[in-house]
């Protein structure tokens, strides 16, 4: 069984009398370690799909198996646990807690998981080093550049060593070259075995992915796989 298996997913938003089918009859499976770009026009349901994959949202119909387990039927606390241990999020607008330092932001998932301060310290220090943020450890987000902020966010997303990283337009708020740095960072993580699913409007970034899901009106229009580069 694939790491991620979606079948017959429906997601309907009710706005007054009208219904919006954000996702419709969506079935897709993703293997461990894949690098997937989700692309498509605005409003096509990319973010909705990512939120479902990240267990932040529930489908109205269909099943979602993550690592062989049907996760749509889990209790909210069990879902929180899955998010905490198996999934890392990276957002377009970084979502750092403004009053906490870079190190404290990175430590948040460890704190939520109840990991002892000593181990937390060691892991955060290592992460700061890995992402070239040693000198920024005690800086608050408003003292960091956009690229640095997204690096803090990626460090935070990976500190729990998740199986899947979900990134919703991670380079959307960055200039071209910092965007490329962030893309490389994510690809390095993918190279180490983590499944990477990126929503992007950037054809260059999309082109780098080995698999592209093209969406339109909540449907999967195209599922393009490229042979692994020789």
């Amino acid at each position: 069984m694939a790491q991620i298996e979606l079948s017959g997913i429906e997601r309907v938003f009710k706005l007054g009398d009208s219904e919006v089918h954000a996702l419709h009859e969506l079935s897709v499976s993703i293997e461990r370690g894949e690098y997937v770009a989700v692309m498509g026009p605005s409003g096509s349901g990319k973010s909705t799909l990512l939120n479902l994959l990240g267990l932040l949202d529930r489908p109205n119909a269909g099943t979602y198996h993550l690592e062989g387990r049907d996760v749509t039927t889990l209790s909210p606390d069990e879902q929180a646990e899955v998010r905490r241990t198996r999934i890392g999020f990276v957002f377009q607008s970084f979502h750092l807690v403004p009053r906490l330092t870079a190190a404290e932001n990175i430590a948040l998932p460890l704190m939520l998981a109840g990991i002892a301060p000593a181990e937390r310290h060691a892991r955060v220090a290592q992460a700061l080093k890995d992402f070239g943020l040693e000198t920024r450890a005690s800086h608050r987000p408003d003292e960091l550049s956009g690229g640095q902020r997204q690096r803090v966010a990626i460090a935070r997303a990976t500190i729990m060593r998740p199986a899947v990283i979900l990134a919703d337009e991670p380079t959307g708020n960055l200039d071209r070259s910092t965007g490329q740095d962030v893309t490389h960072l994510l690809e390095e993580l993918n190279a180490s075995g983590v499944t990477l699913i990126v929503v992007t409007h950037d054809p260059v970034m999309g082109g780098r992915a080995r698999r592209r899901l093209l969406m339109e009106d909540g449907r999967l229009l195209q599922d393009v796989r490229e042979p692994a580069p020789a």
Partner: protein, 402 residues
């Protein structure tokens, strides 16, 4: 999430918005300080009155002429119609009650005292030798009035310590002849400092035998009779015996009022106790208002930090984690407010004691605990709703907010 981490996280959140936190703590502390200061004032007044009465001595029954319907201290006890005089013979008769140990008649009038060219207005109290024991006074010099037949008008006087100082200065007083009104009396004793008692400052009084006073003021009646019962428990039965004796002497009609110290004290104690409670209640309302403020501030905090809550959920926080974090923050704010208010209140009570040295303005323990407890309880209670709202936020919508 460990409790220590929850506490640290909530502390960072509280200190992350210093102005908001300062205002909250201020509101809460004013409420607690109000409870502490107002109860200190009320309880101080209660203790002041109780002390004043206790200074009278214990186990006392006071007999005064005239009859009022109710016991205790009503206006009627002070302004009484006097059908028949209370006499020295009545006083002697009261001593026959088995449960009575001592008795002192009191006859009071204003006069002047003079010695060696010095002249001073003074209140003269005619009484018996037992008065000094009933009131538990100590002698500074000499002895108190002799224990003799109440009809004897011996020409002797005992002075209060302040009066003695004013008349004699540093010169010896014992054995000197002073003029009191139209009489010449020999000073046989000086009382030790006694302090205030029921508005009469004993240190400024002249004590003379009751017959001497009555002759001086040309009267037969007594101001009151003070009777001492055998014990505290005997006060009730003794009062009954006294009433029986008086009835016998007045052809079955009781035209005197007997006040027990307990009744007077009890009345004052109740009135001032109730006052303290009422005042504490009013102050507690300000605490409730502070609690509502906590709720509003926390609701605003939830709205302000919507994106943060969404993020925490994305990172795997459970609803319980978030609820606890916000609840802890509310509790911290009210705890800080309560402690600040406690300090502020004690400062206020101290200022009160400085301004009114006679008033023992210490806040009672129950009020301090109740004040801090109410602050914490309201803070947490009113923190529950915002915390639950935070925990219930839909993470997707929360995250889409910047």
């Amino acid at each position: 999430m460990t409790p220590a981490d929850t506490l640290r996280f909530a502390t960072r959140a509280a200190t992350g918005y210093p102005l908001r936190t300062a205002l909250m703590v201020l509101a809460m502390s004013i409420g607690v300080a109000a409870v502490v200061v107002l109860t200190a004032l009320g309880d101080g007044a209660r203790r002041y009155v109780v002390n004043e009465f206790s200074a009278l001595g214990s186990n006392l029954v006071i007999v005064l002429p005239g009859r009022t319907a109710t016991g205790g201290l009503g206006l009627g006890n002070i302004i009484t119609s006097t059908p028949r005089d209370l006499t020295v013979r009545d006083a002697e008769a009261l001593l026959r009650a088995p449960l009575v140990t001592r008795m002192a008649p009191l006859s009071v009038g204003n006069s002047e005292i003079a010695w060696g060219g010095r002249l001073r207005e003074a209140m003269v109290v005619g009484t018996s030798g037992d008065y000094v024991d009933i009131r538990a006074f100590r002698m500074a010099e000499g002895s108190f009035l002799p224990r003799e037949d109440l009809g004897r008008a011996s020409a002797v006087a005992v002075l209060g310590t302040k009066l003695r100082a004013e008349i004699f200065g540093n010169e010896p007083a014992i054995g000197r002849i002073v003029r009191v009104g139209d009489r010449r009396l020999r000073v046989i004793g000086v009382l030790d400092k006694t302090g205030q008692g029921l508005g009469m400052n004993t240190d400024e009084l002249v004590f003379v035998p009751v017959a001497t006073a009555q002759a001086m003021f040309n009267t037969n009646n007594l101001f009151r009779i003070i009777v001492e019962a055998r014990s505290r428990e005997a006060i009730g039965p003794a009062k009954q015996q006294l009433e029986d004796i008086m009835r016998l002497r007045r052809e079955g009609e009781l035209d005197v009022t007997l006040i027990t110290q307990d009744a007077v004290l009890g009345t004052f104690d109740r009135i001032l106790g109730a006052l303290t409670m009422a005042v504490a209640g009013i102050a507690a309302i300000s605490l409730a208002v502070a609690g509502i403020l906590v709720m509003n501030v926390m609701l605003v905090a939830v709205t302000q930090r919507t994106a943060e809550i969404g993020l925490l959920k994305a990172l795997g926080a459970t609803g319980r984690n978030i609820r606890l974090a916000f609840l802890t923050e509310a509790a911290l704010l009210s705890l800080a407010g309560a402690l600040a208010g406690f300090a502020l209140g004690h400062l206020g009570a101290w200022a009160l004691r400085l301004a009114f040295p006679v008033l023992p303005a210490w806040p009672p323990d129950w009020a301090v605990f109740a004040g801090i407890g109410t602050a914490l309880a309201t803070g947490i209670l009113f923190g529950v709703m915002p915390a639950r709202r935070a925990a219930r936020l839909d993470p997707v919508q929360a995250l889409s907010r910047r």
